[in-house]
Amino acid sequence: MNAARLSAIIVKEYHDLKANVQVLMMVILPAFMAVLYSRMSSGDEKLFSFVFVSLFSLVFVTMYVQSMLISEEKEKNTLQSLLMSPANTTEILIGKSVITTVITIVSLFISWLIMDIRISNIGILLIVLILSTVLFLCIGTVVGLVSKNLIQTGVYIVPFMFLFGFAPMIQMYFEDGIVGDIISYSPSVYMMDTAVSALEGQDFSSYQTDLLWLTGWTIVGVLAAYVLLKKKNLSN
């Protein structure tokens, strides 16, 4: 990996994003949710609400923004130019994810400040958030790459936002049925279960399987995004 090329891509992303009002507006959404949930919940409920707002950030900011950024590059043919440059797939993938990650961190931090949560087990929580951020970045990248243009991305991303954003709630309502069984394999359910358990101070053994599943999902996501981006000809 070449540091000069990687930093060039990151600086370019910054220059491009600071004029992208549509994307910047998305950062406000989780903060709005945090205000809402901080008033609606109290006590232990607040922990669950905080994790839910974090999941909302990951789905609506990380995954959505990344899918839009990738899709725009594809639609304007700049991604093809990047792929035909000396920059390699890893540099492009990381370079294009850094700014979205920074936006995610800012939005998570603002949500945390608003909800005023006392965080225990911060190490585990950070691991969960890092794994989830990487996973949702990769899902956003994949959706952006498989769509032909921004409009199509806007359509394709909706089921993913619904499925991942609301999976923990769907599972609660359909706990005993087949729907609940299927949805329990969703990465967002693993993310919620691990994060809530960690915040509640439970023993590591009680959530290690969930953490393992989340790690597995993240590896699959990274591989999918890498392989798709490696396919050089995106126009056909």
Binding site: A4, R5, S7, A8, I9, V11, K12, H15, D16, A19, N20, K76, N77, T78, Q80, S81, L82, M84, S85, P86, A87, N88, K232, N233, S235, N236
Partner: protein, 281 residues
């Protein structure tokens, strides 16, 4: 001879459609090679295969001694590409766009200012790309393609959106780059451009190369050996370029009837029609 590009028996099939059929040609290092053909003849497919963006169905393609589909980052750093799927960052300025690619290609310091001057966009460098005309965007794309002084430059219709003044500027830029050693692979509809710039041209029609040589040699090969006279009475006469024709010409000259004399050297467009039976539109 040292070759920058070697293409042997290249074929490409999309579903039921044969886009390229046993295309074979070589481009020497430092050569300007024109690839001429109407829309749908397979020019863009060829460029995509040559630059590793598409895999061939059959055949061998070598660029700078390496299999085109196996080029790595440093190989890509030696080529420049301007095709119909080259894009720019619309919200960023011309200068920011070029600075970004200069860093990716490790172009020397000051090169951005140099190319901005060469394409005549120095005064506009702070303008966001979205505010540029189609012709200006094309000039930025060309500037980007030559930023790193590539060993091989692929240009797909590089001057199609430019006005005549800028076309001449771009031709000068390409000639200068070629003098410094860059091999240029050019696809164009513009026969005049091909005649002026190219050392050799190939005519591509329905996925096959129908003719290939230096423009001057092709013009000689397809010349009809006749001379056309425009007479003062408004009529036109065609005479043979031989002793009998010389006699006729002498008579017209003696009678002071000639308004203009034209040789019968065909243009590349004329030759293309003769070879393929259709125009280069």
């Amino acid at each position: 001879m040292d070759y920058a590009l070697q293409v042997k028996d290249l074929s490409k099939v999309f579903g039921q459609q044969q886009a390229l059929q046993q295309v074979t040609f070589n481009v020497g290092k430092g050569e300007i090679f024109g690839f001429l053909g109407p829309s749908g003849s397979g020019k863009t497919t060829t460029v995509k295969i040559l630059t590793g963006q598409l895999l061939p169905t059959a055949g061998d393609v070598t660029i700078l001694g390496k299999n085109a589909s196996k080029m790595n980052g440093s190989d890509l750093g030696r080529i420049g590409i301007l095709t119909d799927n080259s894009g720019l960052y619309e919200r960023m300025s011309i200068k920011d766009n070029l600075e970004f690619y200069a860093k990716l290609y490790n172009a020397p310091a000051g090169r951005v200012e140099e190319v901005l001057q060469l394409v005549g966009l120095e005064a506009e460098k702070k303008k966001p790309v979205k505010k540029l005309s189609k012709g200006m965007k094309q000039r930025v794309l060309l500037a980007r393609a030559v930023l790193h002084k590539p060993d091989v430059l692929f240009l797909d219709e590089p001057t199609s959106a430019l006005d005549p003044g800028n076309v001449l500027k771009m031709h000068d830029l390409l000639r200068d780059l070629n003098r410094e050693g860059t091999t240029i692979f050019l696809t164009t509809h513009n026969m005049e451009e091909a005649t002026q710039l190219c050392d050799r041209v190939a005519f591509l029609h329905e996925g096959q190369i129908r003719e290939m040589d230096a423009p001057k040699l092709l013009q000689r090969k397809y010349a009809k050996n006749t001379i056309h006279l425009e007479l003062k009475d408004g009529s036109n006469k065609t005479i043979k370029n031989n002793a009998g024709g010389a006699e006729q010409l002498y008579q017209y000259m003696q009678a002071e009837e000639i308004l203009a004399v034209h040789s019968d050297q065909p243009t590349l467009g004329d030759i293309f029609i003769e070879v393929t039976g259709r125009e280069l539109a």
